[in-house]
Amino acid sequence: MLRLDRVSVTAEDGGVAVPILKDVSLTLEDKKIYVMTGPNGGGKSTLAKTVMGIYKPSSGTITLDGRDITDMSITERARLGIGYAFQTPPRFKGIKVRDYLKLAAGPDSRADYCSLLYDVGLCAQDYADRDINASFSGGELKRIEIASILARELKVALFDEPEAGIDLWSFQRLTETFRALNEKTDATIIIISHQERILRLADQVILVSGGTIEEITTQEKFLGELSKTDDACRCRIGCLREGPVNGNAQCDR
């Protein structure tokens, strides 16, 4: 179980401390899928990076299975079983996909890179020996990033917009992969996403906005409310025609 207790994070901006997360408290249980969503800039990635240890909270505590990890380094948290798939993963000149996945899996792991690549819809024959360099497409890079998390045995698996850049044909495979992870392990799975199909995987939906948790709710309730906002929404230039955004909208918002 992962707990955040009144966690705040600030960033330095020209010598001024800007609050990014404000007093966030959350309890996330094992073997559940949480989907975190909310407006751009709301603080989702910051929250995930704070759990991973990439950002240090200015106040508050984080505990994993009752153990205080607030002051632990990234490496220590990783070794305890926290993993984070980046929103924009870095590239590595000269590191082969195969070696990268082996590194991710750890020295005594039985995880096999072929089936990991298969799980993210990449053919091992084509990709295992390629460098993770600039020649990779955005979607391919995201898939390898996801595979690097699947390679590990985790207590907490954070995925930051895993669907971004993944083509329509592979989407199904991706959601199945998350389902399988949920079935096979006890990991707490946290997926940051803006996609309805990912939201449908959620045991709970966490709405993050303005650096706070605005709401924790079920997917049914959340998706229901979302369609209401659609109905009531107005276009930016303020014309008064109404209608669902993806349906028969009468102006092009």
């Binding site: 990439i54 990783a78 980046f86 000149k93 590191i95 750890g106």
Partner: protein, 307 residues
């Protein structure tokens, strides 16, 4: 090979990947003397008469053979050698050179090698050169290799040059001339640390049509070491040339990358890319997220980069 002791064997392994006497043709030079030679039906090695060095003659059409010509220095001295390689028409061979220096003393151990290659029509040559230094003494380990290559019509030369450890000062000069349809691929890897200095000058002349050249140079400069790269490509005909020069700089090191491309023909296509920078912190963070320490992450990134 009684003349080779444990240190010699280690150096031999480091520069030529050899545990024992190599297969095929070889010539081992130790402290300025020949320490073993073998020739084959297709590859002859003869000692030069006018100056120190050897001529390696590879018969036309020779396939799947290799020549090892390691040099080892295990004492303080100044060794100078001129080697000439004749790669006959349509031959396809691998030449493994390299120099290992173990300097036990306080004076300088220096090896200056001039290697000249003639890659004849339609021939392919892969040339692998490794430099390695070690030693308990305070004496400098210095290497100044000069490589001159002429690639005739339809010939290919692939050069792998690396210097990863222990050379205090290196000045490498490489000059390549390409004729019609000839092809050159160079991959250079360099790591310097402490107070080391390394300079690499590569000049490629694309003389005739349909010649192509690609140079990929990667280096890591640590501590107070200094590196200078001067990569120069000149296109005299319809040709394509690409230089990629990438350096990771750390600590108090200094790196200069001086690009030069010149076209003498409107169908010459030349590209030079050069970048110098630290290890991206995103990369370090990503590997730490996989459970590596910062140090391990750094080593992994450098190892991949120089692979």
């Amino acid at each position: 090979m009684e003349t080779l002791n444990a240190i010699d064997k280690k150096l031999l392994y480091k520069v030529a990947g050899l545990h024992e006497i190599p297969q095929g043709a070889y010539n081992i030079r130790k402290n300025g003397q020949s320490a073993g030679r073998n020739t084959t039906a297709n590859i002859d090695i003869v000692t030069k008469e006018d100056r120190p060095g050897i001529n390696v003659i590879i018969r036309p059409g020779t396939k799947n053979e290799s020549v090892h010509i390691p040099v080892i220095l295990s004492q303080e001295m100044n060794d100078l050698v001129y080697n000439t390689f004749e790669v006959g028409e349509n031959a396809d061979v691998v030449i493994v050179a390299g120099c290992g220096v173990h300097n036990p003393g306080s004076r300088r151990a220096e090896h200056d090698g001039v290697h000249e290659f003639f890659v004849r029509r339609g021939a392919r040559m892969k040339y692998v050169e490794k430099h390695y230094g070690e030693g308990d003494g305070s004496g400098e380990r210095v290497l100044n290799p000069t490589t001159i290559i002429e690639i005739e019509e339809g010939g290919t030369a692939e050069l792998e040059m690396s210097q990863i450890r222990g050379i205090d000062s290196a000045k490498r000069d490489t000059r390549v001339r390409l004729h019609r349809g000839a092809k050159l691929i160079v991959s250079e890897r360099l790591l310097t640390y402490q107070e080391q200095f390394a300079e690499s000058n590569i000049t490629v002349e694309l003389l005739e049509e349909a010649s192509t050249a690609q140079i990929i140079s990667r280096s890591v400069a640590q501590d107070k070491s200094r590196q200078i790269f001067h990569l120069n490509m000149r296109g005299y005909a319809e040709c394509r040339g690409h230089i990629q020069c990438d350096s990771i700089i750390m600590h108090d090191a200094q790196v200069s990358s001086i690009p030069e491309i010149t076209a003498f023909h409107s169908d010459a296509q030349l590209i030079h890319e050069a970048a110098i920078g630290k290890i991206a912190s995103e990369q370090l963070v990503k590997l730490m997220c996989l459970g590596l320490t910062e140090k391990e992450a750094e080593e992994t990134i450098l190892q991949g980069f120089l692979a």
